[in-house]
Amino acid sequence: MNAISSSYRVQYDMRPAKQVERRMLVDALQRLSAAGIPVADYQYTGFGAIYFVDFILFHKILGLSKLLSLEQHKSLESRMMFNRPFSCVEIKMVSASSEIPNLSRDIRHIVWLDYDGVLQKGFLSDIQSALTILPTGSILLVTVDVEPPEEHDYKTVDPDFDSSKEVLGPKHWRRYFEHHASPYLNLGLSDDDFGKSELGKRSGEILRAAFTRAIVARPNLQFVPMFNFSYKDSHSMLTMGGMIAGRAEKRQLQASTLGDTDYYCKNFKDAPFEIKVPRLTRRERAYLDREMPCADGWIPTDFDLDADVVLRYREIYRFLPAFAEILL
C-alpha cells in the first residue's frame, strides 16, 4: 500500500471517468434489483476515504442502508468521522483482510476492494478471502492501478534499487509482478509482456486467475463476470467484478437486463469496457444530449466532431457527471 493514503492525493468526487464507472455500477445494480435480486438489503463494504461518494450513491439511489467503510490509515480517522454522510455508514479503522472474515454470513454483500495501488500480494489475498467467505449472491468488485509500479512499489521487491543508477522498465516490472503474483501469471511471458501498455492486460489476467483459484474450492459456485472497466482520470485503472453465484443466482443474473448494456462484461477474457470521457464543452454536451441516443454514424452539423467520439459519448452520456463551480 502506498505510504500516503490516496485521500490526500486524489480529489475523489472530481474524477469524471471514475464517476461514470460508479454510475454504471449503480445502473447495473438497479437492473439486478428489477430482476428480483434484493440489492437494497445487501451490505456495502468499501473504502469510503473522506469523500464517501460511492456510499452516497448506494444509499440514496439504491437504498442500501448497511454500509461499512474500511480505512487503514489511522491518521484519517477524525476526518472520516467528520465527513461521514449518514448515520448508517459504519466506519472501521481496520484493513480489509482483517474485516472480510468478520462480514456477516447471513446477508449478501457488495464488497468493493477499490485499491489505489498497483497489484500486490495483499490484494490477491483479500480477493481469496472475500471469495472464500462471502455468501452466495454477493458481489465482489476489485479496482487496481495498472500504471507501471513506481520506485516505492518496486522497492518491496528489491529494497536496494537505486533510481540514480537504473531506470525502472519492463524488466523490473516483470520482476515486480512475479514477486507479487507468480502463481497467477500465465506461462511463457517475457519482459516485453510487461511493457507499460501491457500491464492492464497482465493485471486483468492475474485478477481473473485469482477469482478462479478462490472460487473453485466452493462446490457448485461460480464467480460470474459482470464488470470489466478500464478508465483513466490521472492513472490508468482497471475494475473487475462479478457475483458469487450458484445456479439460481446465475439464472437471475441472466434474466436481468444487465446483458443489454454496453458495459456488461460477459467474459473476463474479453477486452475491458473502456470508459473514455470525451472532452466537450457544456454547450457541446447540451447539443449532443438533445440527439442522444443517436443513430449509428450520426455526427453534429453545427461543429466538427469525429463519429467515434460521438459513439463514445453515446455509451456514457447517461452516466457522465457535469461539474460546476458553486460559490459557498
Binding site: 481469496q128 478471502s129 474450492a217
Partner: protein
Amino acid sequence: MRYASAEVRKQFFMDMFTRDISLEDCVLDLIDNSVDSFLLGHRISVSDLIFGPDGNTAAEGLGTIDVTCNERQIKVVDTCGGISRARAMSDVFCFGHSENDPVGKLGAYGVGMKRAVFKIGNKFDIVSRTSIEGFEVSFKLDEWAERDDWKVPIRFIEGAASEKKAGTSITVTELHDEVTLRIKEGGVPKNILDDASTTYPYFLDRCVRLRINDTDVVPKSIKLGELNGVVRAAHEEFEQGGVKVTLAATVAPGQRTAEEAGWYILCNGRVVVRADKTDLTGWAKELASFQPKYRSFVGIASFESDNPLSLPWTTTKRDLNRESIVFIRARGLMATMSKPILSFLNSQYPSDTTTEVADIRDAVGGVQAVSFKDITTRPTTGFLYTSPKRKEKRNELVRYQAEVASLDKVRRHLRRPNMAAGEIGKFTLSHYVKTECSE
C-alpha cells in the same frame, strides 16, 4: 484375446510398501488399530471426544495399550476389545478393507498392520481374544514371501475371560538389521512417546491409556486462547462429500515456543499434521512466511467422516493429500482466518510503542485457555480484537519551558534559592489549584 501378466509380486510389494513411512509411524499405525478397536467396541463417537468435555470421562472403562520397543522385539498389547474371528478370516490380513468390513475411524486404508510388520521384522505373532472367541496367527515373512498364495495360517483359540481382558497382542521379532540399528542408536521409544502424546490428545486418557516401555504417555493438548471481550477466536465450518470440517484459529495462551505455533490438522481426531507453518496451510503463500513474532498463532482444522477414506490424510497419516477437494476448500478458509491474527500479532512490534501497542501486548499475554468446543459452538466468525476501554488516567506528565528569570523570581519570593525547576512547577500548579480552583 491374449493377456499379459500384471500380477503383484510379494517381495516387491513388501519392499516398496515400507519405503515412505518411518519406524515410529509404523508403530503409531498399530496403536491406531488398538484405538479403533476400542472406539468400535464401545460405540464411541470421535465428535464426542473432540468436542466433548475435557479430561478423563470414565477412568474405569479405559482401554490400555502397552508398547514395548527394544532391540529384540516391538510389541503392542492392548485390552481394547479384540478382533472377531470373522474379521480375522476375511479382512484383517487383507490389503485394503472389504466393502462389508465395519469401518473404523482411524484405520482408513487397511494397510497399517501389514506395513508395520513388513517394515519392522521377519517374525510376526498376533493373538487376539474378544470376550467370546479368539485366534492366533504366527508366521515368518521370508517363508511367506516364497509362497504363491496370499493366505496366512490361523488357529482358533478360546476367548478372553472377560470384556475387560479382551484385546490383541502383536509381536514382531527377528527385527530387520536397519530397525535394530535405529533402536540401538537410541531415541526410538522416546520418539514414539513424543509422537503419540501429540498425535492422540483427543484419545489418551479419554478412551485409552497408553504406555511406551512402561512409561505413561501424557497427552499434549492443543491450547487455544481467548480474552473475554478483547480477543475472540475465528471459527469456520462446512460439510462436503460426507466430511465435516471444523476450523478454529486464535492466539494461544501462555508462553509459547515457535515449535508449537501453526496449524494442527486432525482427521477423525488423530493429529495428522502438527504445528504446520509451511505452504501446506498457506504460510509463505497466501500468508507471510513464519517468523518468531507469530509464535502465539494456533489453529485447528478438524476433518471428520464415517468413511475415513474420504478424509484428506495420506496413508502414512503424517501428511495431507493436497488434491483433496475438501482440503482445498479448508485451506482457503484457513488462510482467510489466519490473516487477521497475523496482522494482530504483527502489530505488537511497530516502530514506536504507543498505548495501543501496550494494549495489544497485554491482550496477547493475557489470553486464557478456551476449549475447541467453546469456540466451535458459536456461530462462524472471523478473529476479532477489540481494544479494551482505557481506564481514566489519574496522572499526566506536564512539561514546558519557563524563563529562568521567572523561576528565580519564585525562588527569591519563597527564599529557597536551590529550589529545582520541577519543584517550582509542581508548587505553582498546586498553588493555583488551591487558590483559584477551590470549589
